[in-house]
Symmetry: none
Subunit: 160 residues, 2 copies
DNA sequence: TGGGATAGCATGGTATTTTATGGGCGGTCA
DNA sequence: TGACCGCCCATAAAATACCATGCTATCCCA
C-alpha cells in the first residue's frame, strides 16, 4: 500500500460546477489518489452532516476491511453494510480530472454552483462552501480544546 | 527517520517577497528539510497568532500521526482534521528554493513585502517581520521565567 | 598577508507547462 | 426526439521550470 504524506489530502479548494454538472478535482488531490489503479473517487453521503466523505481505492479498501472484520451475521455489520456500502457511489474522472456527481449526492451535500474540497488526510470531504463556512467557528472551538489534550509528539516517538 | 541537529531549524532570516510572490527559503532551512523525499513545505496558519507554522514531511507526518491516533469517528478528530489538515497548504519549492504562498496564507500572516523565518527546532514559523519584532519583548520575559524550570538535559536524551 | 578566483545565495526576468473551465460532437437509452 | 453521457479539443490564467545577475563571504596561493 502507498504511504507517506505525499499521498494524503491537504488543504481546501473551491471549484465550480459547470453547466453540465462537471466538477474539477483539485490537482493536488488527483496526485494523492491512486488513479493508476482505479480511475475513480468513492463518495459516501455523511450520516451526520450535509457533505460527502470521499477518497480513492485505498480509502474504501481500508473502510471495507474494518467492516468485514466484524462478525458476518451481526446486526452492526448488516447496518454498516447497508448505510455505508450500499450508499457508496463510484464516480469516475474524465481526462481533465473532473467528476460528475449523481443527483442524490448533489442533494445531500446541498451543492449548487460551487463545491469545496476539504482535505482530511486519508480522505476528503465535499461541501457546499457556505455550509462549510458556517460550521467553522464551532469546529475551531472543539479543535482548540482537543489540541490541548494532544501530547506533544517528538520524532523519536514515531520513528521505527 | 532522519534525526540530529542538522535536521533542525535554527536562527531567524528575513527575505524579500518579490513581485511574483516568490519567497526564498533560507539555505540552512532547506538543508534541514527532507526535500529529497518531498520537495515541499507544509504551512498551517496558526490559530493563536498571525503567523504560519511550517515544516517538512517529517513535521507533518508527526502531526498527522498524533491526529490519526485519535478515534476515527470522534468529534475531536474531525474538528482537528478540518481546522488543521484542511487548512494546511503544501507549497513546493522551485529549483532556487523559493516558495509561493497562496493568498489566504499571506493574509493570515499579514505579509506584504518581507517575511521572517523563525527557527523553532523541529518546525519553523513565518512572520511579518514587524509583527514578530513587536512580540519579542514579551516572549523574552516568558522565556526568562521558563528557563528556570528547564531540567538540564544530557546529550544522551537527544542524541541518536 | 593580501587580492583575485570561487562558490553559495538571494533575487530578477522569461519561457513553458498545468490547471480550471468552457464548449462541441457523436453515440445511447428512454 | 431529446436529455444525457463519455470523449475530444480550445483557452486564459496561474503555477512552475529554466536561465541570468549581482552580492558576499570564503578559500587559496602567491
Amino acid at each position: 500500500m502507498r504511504r507517506g504524506a505525499e499521498t494524503l489530502f491537504f488543504g481546501s479548494y473551491t471549484n465550480k460546477i459547470d453547466a453540465k454538472g462537471r466538477l474539477a478535482t483539485p490537482a493536488l488531490f488527483r496526485r494523492a489518489l491512486d488513479l493508476e489503479r482505479v480511475n475513480a473517487i468513492y463518495c459516501i453521503p455523511s450520516t451526520e452532516e450535509p457533505c460527502l466523505d470521499c477518497g480513492g481505492v485505498d480509502y474504501i479498501e481500508t473502510l471495507m476491511a474494518s467492516i468485514t472484520a466484524l462478525d458476518p451475521f451481526s446486526k452492526e455489520r448488516r447496518s454498516l453494510e447497508r448505510t455505508v456500502t450500499a450508499r457508496t457511489s463510484v464516480v469516475s474522472l474524465d481526462k481533465e480530472g473532473r467528476i460528475n456527481l449523481p443527483e442524490h449526492l448533489l442533494g445531500h451535500a446541498r451543492l449548487n454552483g460551487k463545491a469545496l474540497f476539504a482535505g482530511l488526510g486519508h480522505s476528503f470531504q465535499i461541501w457546499n462552501p457556505d455550509e462549510f463556512a458556517a460550521i467553522v467557528p464551532d469546529e475551531e472551538k472543539i479543535a482548540g480544546a482537543a489540541k490541548l489534550s494532544l501530547r506533544n509528539p517528538t520524532p523519536s516517538e514515531t520513528a521505527p
